[in-house]
Symmetry: C2
Subunit: 503 residues, 2 copies
């Protein structure tokens, strides 16, 4: 069946379809760059905070119109939240199918922190002679685009930029009279920035419609060196909220300090017992199954990380010692305290023994980590510290009965995924990249951050690879989010190389 | 000189002054109780949040008027903040002098949390047949006052109630044709609830005007048993704010979890290293100098604490093991984490490695604790954990140089004080209490909470004793602050017994 498909694909390619070598990627991209920037400006002008679903409707409408105009068929896939949008373009029923993923929503904006009137009105900037970013008229793009110029707007990099690159590359390809030699599906997620809570169930509901031979995710920044990059996986993520209880209500620290057990101390001791001074989890079994082979270490060493520069950028002189370098560190699950709270701090602090203390923890997952198993290990460890674990506030009886009480809330958002370098998309994409950039991309075994891709991979069983294109200093999620126009240009070229690469 | 004073005092007593046995404390109190409640209601109707100095002015004016009307001489003592008020009444220049302390300001109010329209409009309540507190008309006091009724208002117990008790007792004494056989000074603090930040310097500035033979503090609740109580000291208080630094800005926990050191974990480990599982400080030397003798343990055992009831009230089945019972626990300095904060918790939590983590600590002091020495011990301990201590944010150079960085801010608010039971005021007050209640008061060696009294004791060298009168369930500092009218009545009688006790 597979051989039949391959033969028929080759056969079907012959008559009128594209031969990759017939298109000049650089010149074709150049001809469409100005229109591509206009398309991007139009798209980022639509507010898209997924905490406000009413903002998402005009985004969905824009996407429906822009794929329909290009002769794609579109449909909404219902979820328990905002719908997904699926766009399809069938070149030939018997060809292979590639599923592209983008998300259209953006992070919230704190307008006061932006250096422009409206984060949804794109602003073009260049570095002036004093080394500062200076606004220049958007009309300047008509006279030629400098790679170092940047456009500032919410979602311009994350992830409307890549979607506009893809559409621009499509237009460029069509203008050159070409078509891919494979069928395409594009799935658009409108809830990524709120953790895609409805995605896993929706992917199962709509699995027939999402079937494909591989999935390509266009999201996220390139390697810090800004060289062309492919990323073959992403860590998954799960969350734990721990609340340790002291007295039923906060007590006067004079009257009851030295008497009523302090939940902030208890929580500190509990958290401290989980990791060593170098940031390694010391709960037995937490890293089981991860044994980096010499070959795998070579793959990781091939990534040209400048760790001195990373440390300088982060303002840290020393790092945790989970792995012996940055790439190794993200091959392991993490156990990160993302938030702590008890009583009050700063001007609001009060002389109390607090009633409770809370830690927010995220556990990033790798394919070797079964999150249920990790949760079990952490729970057992907490019990070994003398705690009785509840899934709610304790009753008065429980308060009197147990010396140590903790409330546990655990959520598994989604699993990790990791695709081999020598998988079909790995080999194919490398060819496209070499055609575009005349060299192999940097290949990331797994990225530290999480993407809601494992629901697709698990439900549909295809390999998935991420194609990051934007500059790593794009201030993703922050104020002054931006895209470097050189990255935008090369992103269009990247998409064009993939669209025109024979599969 | 001292003997001369004593003889002249006895001599001067003879002609027209009070003989204590000539006044019926109970009946005299009863006759003035209704007027006393009206005086209290008038006083608590003046808002008195010391975070808003403009609210304090009418309080000061009320006090000036009410002491002037009673033929006391008044003056304001300047401080760097709101002035203190000093009222003096000289019976005979050569007599002894007793300095009374009250504070007039109150805690802030969160109106939403009160079960009455205005915390500054006193409300009378009784327990109805269903066992709930039910409002009754304030006019009811004219028909007879039930000891179990309560008045609800901000500062009604803390500390306007005791001031109104004192003035009512004064009026009752004068109405009976009596005067004390000692001179009186009353110092009124308007900044107690914000920690009396300007008091220590002001006491030094005005030490000549504050000279006295002893100081009596009328503030705070009686022992939990609600039996007549004397308290011979109070722990002092100092505060430390520790901020541990991670990356310069919060980082994505996916990209840098396992790599960038997490300040919340670092802080947890640091705090955990300071105390054992039973809440005892394990920094060597912290408890030095405190060795409770068998006699002292007997004194502590004589306090009729119902620890099962305390634990039930607090909702704790088990206590810290600093002392072997409640009274012992407060003979030691405490090291209490009153607040913790890092990143965000709850609905606001974000997947980050936080930039920093802060702990707010209060150290309650006992007379054996030199706060500078304790600060030194804690600082040495922190350094032994590998930290470089700063008094400000780290520079980029320091971030690269030191593996562990912490910012330290330490403040010594005021020291502890403790007066012997067999001191002059101890013996004298016991006689007054026996006359009023026909039994010895419960004697507390030191109270766990702090009072800004040591600046007086240190500057003026006199003994100080606290006379707590209000019910312990008065919700001091909270919403629905109240005073039990039986305590108000007995408080007036207590003040009257002291005013009429021969010194």
């Amino acid at each position: 069946m597979k051989i039949y498909k391959l033969i028929s694909a080759i056969f079907l390619c012959l008559p009128g379809l594209v031969q990759a070598q017939h298109i000049d990627l650089q010149k074709t991209t150049e001809r469409h760059l100005v229109n591509g920037v206009k398309l991007l400006n139009e798209l980022v002008s639509i507010p898209n905070d997924s905490n406000h679903p009413d903002q998402l409707v005009p985004n969905l409408e824009w996407c429906e119109e822009n794929f329909s105009n290009r002769n794609w068929s579109i449909q909404q896939l219902a979820t328990k939240g905002f719908p997904l949008m699926l766009a399809s373009y069938e070149v030939e029923a018997t060809n292979k199918t590639v599923l592209f993923y983008f998300h259209v929503d953006g992070q919230p904006v704190d307008r006061k922190k932006w250096n422009q009137a409206d984060p949804y009105t794109p602003v073009l900037k260049k570095i002036n002679e004093s080394g500062d970013w200076e606004e220049i008229s958007m009309d300047k793009i008509e006279e030629g685009i400098d790679d170092e110029w940047r456009i500032y707007a919410r979602a311009v990099s994350d992830d409307k930029g890549p979607l506009a690159m893809f559409l621009t590359a499509w237009d460029a390809m069509i203008a050159e009279g070409h078509l891919p030699n494979y069928n395409l599906k594009v799935i658009l997620d409108f809830e990524e920035e709120i953790g895609s809570p409805n995605l896993p169930a929706a992917v199962l509901d709509h699995r027939e419609k999402l079937k494909a031979d591989m999935m390509l995710i266009m999201d996220g920044p390139r390697h810090l060196s800004n060289e062309p990059t492919l990323s073959f996986g992403a860590r998954g993520i799960s969350e734990i909220t721990l609340t340790v209880f002291g007295p039923r209500a906060a007590q006067h620290s004079g009257h009851y300090g030295n008497y009523a057990p302090n939940p902030a101390l208890r929580l500190s001791k509990l958290l401290a017992s989980m990791k060593d001074d170098e940031g390694r989890v010391i709960i037995p079994g937490f890293y089981d199954g991860i044994n980096l082979s010499p070959e795998e270490k070579m793959i990781l060493d091939a990534v040209p990380d400048d760790e001195a520069e990373i440390k300088r950028k982060l303002g840290i002189g020393f790092t945790d010692q989970v792995g012996s370098n940055y790439q190794e560190s993200i091959q392991y699950p993490s156990l990160n305290i993302r938030g702590l709270g008890s009583g009050w701090i700063g001007a609001e602090s009060r002389t109390i023994v607090p009633a409770d203390a809370t830690a927010e923890i995220d556990i990033r997952l790798v394919p070797e980590s079964d999150p249920e198993r990790l949760f079990g290990l952490v729970r057992s460890h907490i019990e070994e510290q003398g705690y009785h674990i509840l899934d709610r506030e304790p009753t008065d009886e429980e308060r009197m009965k147990y010396p140590k009480l903790v409330k546990w809330k655990g959520t598994i958002s989604y699993q990790a995924f990791r695709t081999p370098f020598d998988s079909e998309p790995g080999i194919w994409l490398e060819k496209a990249f070499i055609r575009a950039f005349a060299k192999s991309p940097i290949k990331i075994r797994i990225s530290g951050g999480s993407l809601p891709i494992s629901p697709f991979v698990d439900a549909l069983g295809f390999p998935a690879v991420t194609i990051p294109t934007v500059n790593s200093d794009n201030n993703q999620h922050g104020p002054d989010e931006n895209i470097r126009l050189g990255n935008y240009r090369e992103g269009i070229m990247t998409a064009l190389s993939i669209l025109t690469e024979k599969l």
